[in-house]
């Protein structure tokens, strides 16, 4: 088994300078190894720091301590200490992330948003993936700003999955979806695992979690230090 992602002694706290330097410790001593083809679900109550961990793994949040090793181009790269340009490269080739909400340049059609994320920029593949996620052709040429929450989430999922990244981070990928569309996403996650993609995700829906996750990592809320 190949370890794709290895978190060692990760800690994260926020310092709120505008609140008199208030310290908010969120994560402490987090360890996690994810192998190729494996899906680990982050569990724990709301506010425990699941999204904070996922964002730290993507290099979107700055780790306070510890290492986040990502297998990139045959080497383990520490996202927590890598220079920004390295993180940009790791994200382009290795590390994909599906956020809860779509954030894109206004005016860009849904099809282009997805195609831009494809390694070969293929519009055909983008259209096929959007169809699979039940986004009909008539919507492909429209910017997603006017789409429903569920449609936007599916555009976001298409954009996340088309990149073919060997590691995927999923933040509530089925949160706004009905059962039929959630089933499609579950099938996509299952296929990605079969291809050897390592996945870390937050799945609030217990049924979805049961069907995709091989293991759980429970994040316990830290006591407030204040």
């Amino acid at each position: 088994m190949i370890p794709m992602l290895e978190v060692q002694h990760l800690a994260k706290q926020f310092t709120l300078h505008l609140r008199g330097g208030l310290q908010l410790p969120v994560l402490h001593g987090v360890n996690l190894t994810v192998h190729a083809g494996e899906c680990v679900a982050l569990a724990g109550p709301s506010g425990a720091g699941k999204s904070t961990l996922l964002r730290s793994l993507y290099g979107n949040y700055r780790a306070g301590a510890g290492r986040i090793l990502i297998r990139h181009a045959g080497e383990m790269v520490d996202i927590a200490s890598a220079p920004p340009r390295t993180v940009v490269q790791v994200r382009a080739k290795t590390l994909g992330y599906v956020s809860q909400f779509l954030r894109v340049v206004p005016r860009v059609p849904a099809l282009d948003i997805v195609a831009e994320a494809a390694p070969d920029r293929s519009q055909e593949k983008a259209a096929a993936l959007l169809h699979r996620l039940n986004i009909p052709t008539r919507l492909h040429a429209l910017p997603p700003a006017t789409f429903s929450g569920g449609e936007q989430q599916r555009v976001n999922l298409a954009r996340g999955f088309i990149g073919g990244h060997p590691i995927l981070l999923l933040d509530e990928p089925t949160a706004s979806l009905d059962a039929a569309n959630a089933d499609i996403v579950i099938a996509m996650i299952t296929e990605a695992k079969a291809r050897g993609v390592a996945i870390v995700g937050i799945f609030h829906d217990a049924e979805v979690r049961r069907r995709v996750a091989d293991r759980l990592l429970t994040i316990a809320p830290l006591q407030d230090a204040a």
Binding site: L18, R55, P84, R85, R103, V105
Partner: protein, 258 residues
């Protein structure tokens, strides 16, 4: 200096009287990278752009530029004609007000073609063809190639300025608030245009903006300036989503959510 940077500055310091505009500023830019410089008015961001591009001199510090033959040049030690030649070829400068760059008494096509002529091209047919091609690339109807810029809207003028700047295929473009002063709908279109052109042509950009949303959509990296000091720098989404410095936290928390 790292082997492959296109532009590197160290220790840039500049005072206007007693007011610090730049305090010991370091900056690096790699080919194809978009670097946003953000901060409030008076933070020194436009001064930094002017110093990096050689339009203004610092009291102290050095700026190195690597030319296509990989030779290093001290931007502030270059003879004026060499710097002007650089600004006409491998560099571009997009001003907030397109009228600062365009010649309003020359046709749209002439504005684009002029930069090619300055770069040594002489064949009228080729120049006109390139101008028409660039008008199309910035979504201006090529039928307007002979129209005067004064008949253009603000958004069109800005797109014309971008065509004029990019026609020589510069590797490095300085942009000062390129979407400032435009209607929001026009801004969105321009943002999309800049983003796709920069990515497709692999242009490095130093982008000055006070608009954090513009920085987020266009820039790989970001520098936050306050009173001439770079208080925070890093990956754009990391600095905006998890700001470490008190001033960055204030900037991020002050943005209205639309």
């Amino acid at each position: 200096m790292n082997e492959d940077t296109l532009l590197s500055a160290r220790g840039l310091t500049l005072h206007f009287g007693k007011v610090p505009a730049l305090v010991n500023v370091d900056a690096d830019l790699w080919p194809g990278e978009v670097l946003a410089v953000v901060g409030e008015s008076g933070s020194g961001k436009t001064t930094l752009l002017n110093v990096l591009s050689g339009r203004m001199r610092a009291d102290a510090g050095v700026t190195w530029y690597r030319d296509p033959q990989s030779r290093l040049h001290d931007v502030h030690a270059m003879p004026a004609p060499a710097l002007r030649a650089l600004h006409r070829s491998d560099w571009g400068f997009v001003h907030q007000n397109p009228r600062d760059n365009l010649r309003m008494s020359v046709s749209a096509g002439g504005n684009v073609g002029e930069r090619l002529m300055a770069a040594g091209q002489r064949h009228y047919g080729n120049i006109r063809e390139a101008a028409i091609d660039w008008l199309a690339q910035v979504e201006i109807d090529p039928a307007r190639v002979d129209d005067m810029p004064r008949t253009f809207s603000g958004g069109m003028l800005q797109r014309l300025q971008i065509a004029r700047t990019l026609v020589t295929h510069p590797r490095l473009v300085f942009m000062d608030e390129p979407t400032g002063g435009l209607d929001v709908s026009v801004q969105a279109r321009l943002l999309d245009l800049i983003r796709s052109l920069v990515a497709r042509l692999n242009i490095a950009v130093v982008l000055v903006t006070h608009d954090l949303a513009v920085a987020r959509l266009l820039a790989h990296r970001i520098m936050v300036m306050q009173r001439g000091v770079v208080v925070e720098t890093g990956l754009t989404d990391k600095v905006l989503d998890d700001p470490q410095h008190e001033y960055t936290q204030l900037l991020v928390s002050s943005v209205l959510q639309a």
